[in-house]
Amino acid sequence: MTRIMKYRVRVMLLAGLFAVAFMLTSVTAPVAQAQNKDPIKIGFSMALTGALAGGGKQSLVAMQIWQDDINKKGGILGRQVELVFYDDQTNPKNVPGIYSKLLDVDKVDFVVSGYGTNLIAPAMPVVIDRDIVFMGLFGMNNNHKWNYEKYFQILPAGPSPAVGFSGSWFEAIKAFKPKTIALLAADAEFAQNLKEGAVENAKAMGLEIVYNQNYPPNTSDFTPIVRAVNSKKPDIFYIASYPNGSSGLVRAIAEVGTDAKAVGGGMVGLQYAGLMSGLGPNLNGFLNYDFFVPEPTMNLYPGASNLIERYQKKVKAENLKVDELGYYLVPWAYAYVDILGQAVNAVGKIDHEAIAEYLHKTKFTTVVGDVQFGENGEWTESKTLAVQYQGIKNNDLDQFTKAGTRKIMFPADIKTGEVKPFNELR
């Protein structure tokens, strides 16, 4: 027994050593004193593996393009910019640790968020604790409970994001004079928020909700769901889905058919190159949200087309395994760090109080047009587009880089087509 005890003690010591070694490596990691020649470090967590990795990797490439750009222009405050980032594996659990490491060990000068609402949420308390500026990338209503005055969010869904997100879409369907609506959403945070907003919009329009359900993430066959929806005979079929479900629903609707006049709304993934080319003609008729499409009226976003072109070239040249087109996130991921850079340069020093104040009161001009943040750090107006897929003939990816496949239906001032009933375009 004593002998066993002895080994136990040894093993304990070994484990202890590991722990101590870990702590030492993290504590004694080069803690650079901020000097004028040192780079400005911007830290963030990003989903590079797991369910949201598609968006995360795309964003990272865009941010790296921005890094090159700003460094060519002389950097921030005359110092070069360095991005410090870690993979959060699309698991919120990893996020507090990452931000703590960034702030306490890497001593980054600024932090920005990773991609997606549930990966921003766990970073909020860490950031608020330090009282520093926090730029958010596609978070849905993250600041709702905190009301943190130094949080700024690039998702262009307006002051009330959940409702604003589907606002354009519901404007677009008014043409059909609908009476009934069916709602379907993925069992996941973003989709649930979208549906909640859609319900509010539907109620405001006086629509009767005839179907309101969620589907779990591993749903393989959507035909029973589509049939159940069809049996309620809705005029409108609002879908808030994740990539798996979006693709499954597009196919199931192609197979089973529907009499709804408008189908889609919050289908994440239909903007991805892989899914667009994979689904091809089956997409015709879907009315969905988007943020940037290669339509002629989109030139109100100066530089966005150019940026996307550079992104596509970079992806091809470096053979990166990311979205080939990059319409969905690239301009926004570029803009949210760009705005931070602009603000810091304008303030002229690293003073989070002053930077936040500047961010609040300034109208920024970026690759995504003019950005103005409101009280809660959300955009003052919604810039979400309602687009309809039309005239897609095959599975060729190139057609999606040209105008005409995703025509803008709303906002009215930049629209490039008239919204048509779903079945007319099939």
Partner: protein, 320 residues
């Protein structure tokens, strides 16, 4: 609980409307049953290989769904570069997965079987394999969702029988036919051939096999390789039915193990039946009660069956 926020006001029921209601219900029910059966076929394709590896050989191959995803990516490559039909591609890559199975089992045998370590230890091994496979997939194919194109995707046959409208998507029909054929073939192979009977006996009495002049290790390795070779076609079916990304396999771990256990370990036909049961359950629940309850119902069925028949539906012998 989340339910329909508003329900249709009960409209005045004229006899005609009432009849229409019955027709709608019948249509939904029959379509749900058919769709469930087809979905069950897909589930069977995913789990049949595991039924052999896990049910017959006791190797807790938790990486099975992820290896299917790997096969799906291979199918994607063959389809997008050479335009090969996905099912054909699935057949083409089958030998690769057979070889892979051979290798994996050799390693597994070396480290675990030989030292008669518990199955639990093997579980950790297969978890490791799962992570490594995922990383390789991410590095080779990236993290984006991939789909394939084939004539039978996005189309369906529909018919009107007795005033009721049916439609069956070709995509799921293909999965059903291929999976059924695969299962039937394997079932016959393991029932009728000497090798199959030996494989079924191998976990019960290794000694007897040795006395009969059969090398049990060879039998096991062979059976494991056959089990893994089903990944080829299963992967092809997977990418026909859902978009594939490297982590998608994790979503199916619960399902495939539930099916194998529900069917009863060691019973290949039981796996097929269990897959149909879960497919139909999912489809009925999705149609009538709301899809978000589907997992609770299918796993509830599993728990219920295990409570009353601890060896699963068609399981025999002891509850290992």
């Amino acid at each position: 609980m989340r339910e329909s926020a508003t329900v249709l006001e009960p409209s005045p029921l004229t006899p005609e409307l009432e009849k229409r209601g019955v027709v709608v219900f019948l249509e939904l029910l029959i379509n749900a049953l058919v769709a469930g059966l087809l979905l069950g076929g897909f589930f069977a394709a995913l789990s049949i290989g595991l039924s052999i590896c896990f049910g017959l050989l006791d190797t807790v191959n938790i990486a099975h769904p992820t290896l299917i995803v790997a096969a799906a990516f291979c199918t994607f490559i063959l389809n997008s570069t050479f335009g090969i039909d996905p099912i054909l591609a699935g057949i083409i890559i089958t030998p690769i997965f057979f070889g892979l199975g051979w290798l994996i089992y050799s390693a597994y045998y070396q480290f675990f079987e030989k030292t008669s370590a518990e199955a639990l230890r093997g579980l950790a091994f297969f978890f490791g394999l799962l992570f490594i496979t995922e990383v390789v997939l991410i590095m080779v194919f990236g993290v984006d969702h991939r789909l394939v194109e084939a004539r039978y995707i996005g189309e369906s046959i529909s018919a009107v029988i007795g005033g009721l409208e049916f439609s069956v998507p070709y995509r799921l029909l293909t999965a059903f036919v291929v999976a059924s054929a695969m299962t039937l073939g394997l079932h016959l192979y393991f029932e009728r051939t000497f090798f199959g009977r030996a494989a079924r006996a191998v976990h019960q009495d290794m000694m007897a096999l040795s006395l009969m002049g059969v090398d049990p290790v060879y039998i096991k390795r062979m059976a494991f390789a056959i089990g893994l070779s089903t990944c080829g076609l299963a992967g092809a079916l997977m990418i026909i039915i859902i978009p594939v990304e490297p982590a998608v396999g994790r979503l199916f771990i619960g399902n495939v193990f539930a099916i194998v256990v529900l069917g009863g370990l060691g019973s290949i036909s039981g796996t097929l039946v269990a897959a149909f049961i879960l497919g139909i359950a999912v489809s009925i629940v999705s149609t009538f009660f709301g899809p978000s309850w589907a997992p609770a119902v299918s796993f509830g069925i599993l728990l219920g069956v295990l409570a009353f028949k601890p060896t699963g539906l068609f399981g025999v012998g002891d509850t290992r």
